[in-house]
């Protein structure tokens, strides 16, 4: 652990650094492949809509889920005297057998339940969903998604005050949702309202991760234009590295309880909201952490680098480095200071924080005027 901790220290000072921002093409490609692979799941594996979406009756039959009992339950359902269509009978967890039938009238459903109890079930629960209800739930979910996205855009805009970061955060969001939806499709889990809720929730969580990382990026790059020790991209990359341990820790801490939900929901219950929610959340949270580091930040930098100010600062940094490498003696201090002084520099400037932010624009304006002449 202490090795991990000093690893954290090294990440923090930049002694150890992963090039998240610079190798963005690699990450973009990787994500593209993952998203494609996940999305294939949507096409290859037909989504398995739960009873809530397709309508019908689901009986949760409390009976030991043995093969014999599955047959017993199937026979009892078919012989109940009700036209149940072609019932789908499956085991669920370690305590129940599930039966799904076509839509039935309440009296018919009660008749089936009675037949099942007669066949040895200690208890029969039923969920009867009208066929139009599922469509409504889906509509509601889509509406929720739209509203949520709108609010998220507003939030990001209000918080970061910059469309580039907003776009990057949204792309990361879409990335996470696609991966989650795709992997969910691959899993063959039922798509229930709990699933949809899970999808909506990961929108929030994905954003949370991005907020944490972007916060640090913003802090590091606050005075980038007057700080020639690092380019904007390098500052951003340092930010990601500095928050890496935190990102990993928060994600692990968040994933552990979800994992517990997923395992218990799958093994013990076998069906129901726990496992649907948990799978969506688990994949979504993991993807959220990944995308905040590998997609959101590189993309934000990518977009930001199109700015003249960022470009000229990068040129100045490059020029300065060229000078330094030509005559390495004059600046031993900043190199040594990087460890604990990297922040001492911006800190010095922090006193007049507003000024440096205005300055680049002035410079930009000046330089463009000059170039026009």
């Amino acid at each position: 652990m202490s090795r991990l901790a000093s690893f954290g220290q090294n990440l923090y000072t930049g002694r150890v650094s992963f090039d998240f921002v610079g190798r963005r093409m690699l990450w973009y490609t990787m994500s593209g492949v993952i998203v494609l692979a996940a999305a294939t799941g949507l096409l290859v594996r037909e989504p398995n809509p739960g009873i809530e979406f397709k309508g019908g009756v689901e009986f949760n039959v409390s009976i030991a889920p043995t093969d014999t009992n599955v047959e017993v339950v199937r026979d009892a359902t078919i012989d109940s005297g009700v036209d149940v269509g072609d019932p789908l009978v499956t085991t669920s967890g370690n305590e129940a057998v599930l039966v799904q039938t076509q839509p039935l009238e309440q009296a018919e459903a009660d008749q089936v339940a009675a037949a099942l109890e007669e066949a040895g079930a200690s208890d029969v629960s039923q969920e009867r969903i009208g066929p139009t209800f599922g469509a409504q739930i889906l509509n509601k979910a889509l509406l929720g998604l739209a509203v949520f996205l709108g609010l998220v855009v507003l939030f990001i805009w209000a918080y970061f005050r910059e469309w580039k970061m907003s776009v990057a955060a949204l792309v990361a969001l879409a990335h996470d949702v696609l991966i989650t939806v795709g992997i969910y499709a691959w899993s063959g889990f039922e798509v229930s309202p709990a699933t949809v809720t899970g999808f909506l929730t990961i929108l929030g969580f994905s954003l949370y991760d991005t907020v944490v990382v972007f916060d640090k990026v913003r802090e590091n790059t606050r005075a980038y234009s007057t700080n020639l020790s690092r380019t904007y991209a390098e500052q951003a990359n340092l930010a990601v590295n500095q928050t890496l341990v935190r990102s990993i820790n928060t994600t692990v801490a968040a994933l552990l309880p979800v994992l517990a939900l997923l395992v218990v929901g799958t093994v013990v219950l076998g069906t129901g909201p726990l496992k649907d929610l948990a799978l969506a959340l688990f994949v979504g949270m993991a993807a959220g952490m990944y995308s905040s580091i590998f997609i959101a930040t590189p993309l934000a930098v990518h977009l930001k680098e199109q700015e003249a100010g960022v470009k000229s600062q990068a040129q100045r940094v490059a020029a300065r480095r060229a000078r330094e490498s030509a005559q390495p003696e004059p600046e031993p201090e900043p190199v040594a200071a990087t460890a604990d002084g990297a922040d001492a520099r911006p800190a010095k400037q922090a006193a007049g924080r507003n000024q440096p932010q205005r300055k680049p624009r002035a410079q930009r304006g000046g330089s463009s005027r000059r170039s026009r002449r």
Partner: protein, 595 residues
């Protein structure tokens, strides 16, 4: 600022302690120590009714509230105790019956019970009619009706005279659907009025919608098999529509009909026979009472209706007009023709009776539905969940198990990684957990919040989110130490930076929870609620417990001097050449303070 904050952690902790104590006091007053469980965790019945309006718009709040009240009365009227009827999302009514599996009341409580009396303009030939109209009027007649008998003559005499035979040609097209009684009335009508031939030129004048007919005019239309001239255009359209109409198979045939009181209605009875009906002459709102009964010497259950004064007047006009004409009026319930009796004697005392294949149960159900009034809205019975006790028990057990495992995993991870600070995490989680439990109890007692399986899932997921905040703070704190601050300064500086991040992240979570709460379907709503609740509690705990606690601990020797097990030792943080209690050599104290 910084110095103030460092000197006051004790006071802040005391404030939180006070808040917890007050909540605890309230819980004690409430006297309930176990949370209210949702239906999925204790078993029970949940019925979701979805309002359907003619124009697809959301119903008004008033309509929904009225419907809620009526459904509530119906549920109570059917002998269910402790049921809860609530409205959701502006267009749903949810009936929850904890602990009982009552599928039997499903049909009855959601029925609109919109009862209307209409006149039959076109209907099945008498031979096809399977209901027994002749049985009915005698029992409707009751006492004291006979004296009205002499009025019949007037009514009947007047009606054919007024009958205008326009649009007759079109009517002929559907004459197959008309009652044979046609022959007398209408035959006379057109014969008397050959002047009606130039109908086409009258077209504009004959285009008044039938919805503007008076009761008398509707009656004339029934008796003449043709409307007064000014309605001919609309009537022709209706008859064409009627000819084209086919009744769907099955019991729910009438459910597809849009039953508007002011409009003519084309619909079916339970046997799949179709009717063209006049706009409503009497509405269900005129009912003063409804009861099930078994008339003497008949094996068939009926529902007895009592009409108020205005309803009685209209009813007597109608029955007087129809008496002995073999023409029918129809009793329409929720757009379906319940019965279409002939009238053998006029009824003036406002007592009507519906027969039509009732059993004791169906008659009682209908009477109960009618008695509390018609719902102002049509409801689709969109979902019925019956949770058995076994399933409920195993779901509760699974939820608790998942919670314990999840909590244990997080605690172990934090102890492993943060050592001494891990204890702070555990203490903070314990405080957050305690406050959450208190609030769940209080919300249960005050606003009826129930803990469902998704709610438990939300609480479990929240463990991670809450731990996130601590981690953000601790990592910030360590960053500050790495930057060269002493621990005590780092706590304050790290906090100032962490708190913005924590607030932003919690704001996102809270936003997510609120939106989820609004858009989630009911069963999952508990998840969003739990998420939102715990996020708010997280902010409270981090600000008023974790931060001050760390401030206090930073002064202790164990943490402040960076004991190897504290999680804040120099080696653990990876800093070299100084103790965490000291400032780094290069660090300039004042430089950091302004932030």
């Amino acid at each position: 600022m910084a110095t103030k904050a460092t000197t006051r952690p004790g006071r802040t902790l005391a404030v939180l302690g006070g808040v917890i104590a007050i909540l605890l006091g309230l819980v004690v007053l409430g006297g309930d120590w176990a949370p209210r469980l949702g239906l999925d965790l204790q078993g029970g019945t949940r019925i979701t009714l979805q309002a359907r309006t003619a124009d697809g718009e959301d119903p008004t709040t008033d309509e929904l509230a009225e419907a809620q009240e009526i459904i509530s009365s119906r549920v109570n009227g059917s002998g269910v105790s402790a049921a809860e009827v609530s409205t959701r999302g502006g267009d749903q009514i949810i009936v929850e019956i904890p602990g009982e599996q009552r599928s039997d009341i499903v049909k009855q409580i959601g029925r609109t019970a919109q009862l209307r009396f209409r006149l039959v303009w076109s209907g099945p030939a008498p031979g096809q009619q399977t209901q027994q109209p002749p049985q009915q009027p005698p029992s409707q007649g009751g006492g004291g009706n006979n004296n009205q008998g002499d009025n019949q003559g007037d009514g009947q005499g007047a009606n054919p005279g007024n009958g205008q035979g326009s649009g007759q040609g079109n009517n002929r097209g559907v004459s197959g659907w008309m009652l044979p009684a046609d022959d007398t009335g209408p035959e006379g009508g057109p014969g008397d009025q050959p002047t009606e031939e130039p109908t086409p030129t009258d077209q504009p004048a004959s285009d008044t919608p039938v919805s503007e007919m008076s009761v008398e005019e509707m009656l004339q239309t029934t008796l003449n098999r043709a409307p007064p001239t000014e309605y001919a255009g609309d009537y022709t359209r209706l008859t064409a529509e009627f000819t084209a109409f086919t009744c769907p198979e099955g019991d729910d045939a009438a459910a597809q009909v849009d039953d508007q009181p002011g409009e003519a209605l084309i619909t079916c009875d339970r046997d799949g026979l179709k009717y063209l009906l006049s706009p409503a002459v009497i509405e269900g709102t005129s009912l003063t009472d409804a009861s099930a009964g078994l008339p003497q010497a008949t094996p068939q259950w009926v529902v007895n209706l009592e009409l108020d004064g205005e309803g009685s007047d209209v009813f007597s006009t109608v029955t007087r007009g129809l008496v002995n004409t073999q023409q029918l009026f129809a009793i329409v319930l929720d757009g379906q023709v319940l019965s279409a009796p002939e009238v053998t004697s006029p009824i003036t005392n406002g007592q009507a009776q519906i027969s039509g294949g009732f059993t004791q149960e169906t008659a009682t159900d209908l009477a109960n539905s009618l008695q509390y009034g018609a719902l102002p809205l049509t409801f689709d019975e969109s979902g019925v969940t019956l949770a058995g006790p076994t399933l409920a028990k195993s779901q509760l057990a699974a939820g608790v198990l998942a919670g314990l495992i999840g909590l244990a995993l997080v605690v172990v991870y934090c102890m492993f990684y943060y050592r001494g600070l891990g204890l702070v995490v555990i203490a903070s989680l314990a405080v957050a957990g305690f406050i959450t439990y208190e609030l769940v109890l209080l919300l249960g007692a005050s606003v009826g919040f129930t803990l469902t399986l998704p709610g438990i899932a939300g609480l479990i997921v929240a463990v991670g989110i809450t731990a996130d905040s601590f981690i953000v703070f601790f990592e910030r704190l360590r960053d500050e130490v790495r930057e060269g601050k002493s621990l005590r300064l780092a706590v304050e500086a790290g906090w100032r930076r962490a708190r913005l991040t924590i607030l932003a992240a919690d704001a996102v979570s809270l936003l997510a929870a609120v939106v989820l709460y609004i858009f989630a379907i009911d069963e999952i709503r508990g998840f969003a609620f739990a998420l939102g609740l715990t996020t708010a509690i997280d902010v409270l705990v981090v600000f008023f417990f974790t931060k001050p606690l760390v401030s206090v601990l930073a002064r202790t020797k164990f943490f402040g001097q960076g004991h190897p097990m504290s999680g804040l030792d120099a080696r653990h943080l990876g800093i070299e050449g100084r103790r965490v209690s000291e400032l780094a050599h290069g660090a300039r104290r004042p430089a950091r303070v302004p932030r």
